[in-house]
Amino acid sequence: MTERHLLLQNDIRQIPQLADFVETIAQESNLDQSMAMTLNLALEEAVTNVIMYAYPKGSQGLVDLEAIVRKDSLVFILSDSGKPFDPTSAPEADISLDVEDRPIGGLGIYMVMNIMDKVEYRRENDRNILTMTKKI
């Protein structure tokens, strides 16, 4: 088991650092291209949500991502000290809607829930803690 840690500012321009972080883990764990991409996608969506909405507009805040790399699973623990938000209780996007009725947003969390095998939220010591597990 190895652990990796990434600390980001709540600035969307930091997203490429997340991509590098995921790429390193993907290589270490010998993930195929499709798995690496979907994993990156789920994490980008989860991290983007925190960057955009956790802290009041114009204020600085940190986004903390810890990865626990095991032989058969990857566990990502995303935490922030922003306002309470439980993505696991957000309404599910309806992906069967036609063009006209399809809302523009709401896909990010849907993808996190879809790609990860397990997503758990808890609020602890005034922090949002989202634990996402992917079997590999």
Binding site: I12, R13, I15, P16, A19, Q33, S34, M37, T38, N40, L41, E44, E45, T48, A93, I95, S96, L97, D98, V99, E100, R102, I104, G105, L107, G108, Y110, M111, N114, I115
Partner: protein, 101 residues
């Protein structure tokens, strides 16, 4: 991320090159006039060199698709890679677009 536009009569081809991640999508969505105008006619989104797409990138695709639907235009998605096709499948986007190759 780079978008190269080429025009032939009424058909515009947008060649998407690189990673359409959240920051890239935000930048593009602030400057969409040309793409929106093209979507009202015929717009080909050439994805042969598109490496990655996040939900914010999908939002751009959907915005253009809605413009085409309301203005009588047409969007054709060309040459998506298997990994991006997987994202389209997961989100139901395969049913919203005409996809070639």
């Amino acid at each position: 991320m780079e978008i190269k536009l080429t025009q032939q009569e009424n058909i515009t081809t947008a060649h998407l090159i690189g990673r359409l991640d959240t920051p890239a999508s935000q930048e593009i969505s602030q400057n969409m006039d040309e793409l929106q105008a093209a979507a009202a006619k015929t717009l080909i989104l050439d994805c042969s060199e598109l490496e990655y797409i996040s939900s914010s990138g999908l939002r751009i695709f959907l915005t253009l698709r809605k413009t085409a639907a309301s203005k009588g235009g047409k969007i054709i998605i060309k040459s998506i890679s298997p990994v991006i096709r997987q994202v389209f499948m997961m989100t139901g986007f395969l049913n919203l677009f005409e996809i070639q190759g």
